[in-house]
């Protein structure tokens, strides 16, 4: 079983967490955008 060097491992972990942040905040922004669009179209 090959073990990645620690520095490389840390960099990969940080990159994965960055991707996760983009995905999760992107999802929230998308849902918020959909709701704002609905609000502009409807008589709430």
């Amino acid at each position: 079983m090959s073990q990645k060097p620690t520095v490389d491992h840390d960099r990969r972990r940080r990159r994965a967490l960055g991707v996760f942040q983009i995905l999760i905040y992107g999802y929230l922004l998308t849902m918020w955008g959909i709701q704002l669009y609905m609000y502009s179209q409807r008589d709430w």
Binding site: D10, R13, R14, L17, F20, Q21, I24, Y25, Y27, L28, M31, W32, I34, Q35, L36, M38, Y39, R42, W44
Partner: protein, 230 residues
Amino acid sequence: MNQSLSNASNVYDDHQNKSRDAQRKADRWMLPGAILMTTAVLGPIGFPLFLKGMAMQRRALLDGMSVRPMICTLLGYLVIMDSGLNSIGWSLDIFAHHSLISRTLVTAWGNMFDAGYFWHYNELWAGGAGAPGEKSWEYSLVPTVFCMRLAAAIGFLQMKRWGHQWLIVTCWFGVIYWVGYVANMTIFADLRYANIVFPVWGWWLYDIFYITPFLAIPYLHTVNREIFSD
């Protein structure tokens, strides 16, 4: 030689004891403050208590005491408040939906930010909020993830390894319930945002403070785990 070793050991023990006392004194202010804030209504009383505790911990840090890192203190107490606020609010909605506080505060809140807590309130057999899916979230999350989150936060504040590990687990749970709950708000937007005072903006401004799981995950996965003990 032995005498100097013994003196060094005494100095170390003395420093450890003083540090532990300083942390305990600060927590004695922060914990009641956080608990009061979880009730929402008593939040204005709890906030200054919490700030005083934080100032005490900061002073101890500046005095060279070995107290908990400030980021751990903030994260731990934020999670206590997150789980406490959700548990208390939703437990009231499950068990005390006919109480005066629920019928006034909860429906007033519903009238302003989320009609899920106004529309047909107390008209379904389960009582309380009648929004589609809302009761399922309450039944599923309060006894599982929010209890686990509260326990994890206490372990985390004690700098225990299990506290760190379980905080990671429950923060990922948090991602699941946020994704699901926001989807619910969008799918049933015509019900939840219709005829209220602050549609969309109000709910987001009020609820965005619950995203602590998202904020905590990057820290929890990159922090040096050696600072937590068995």
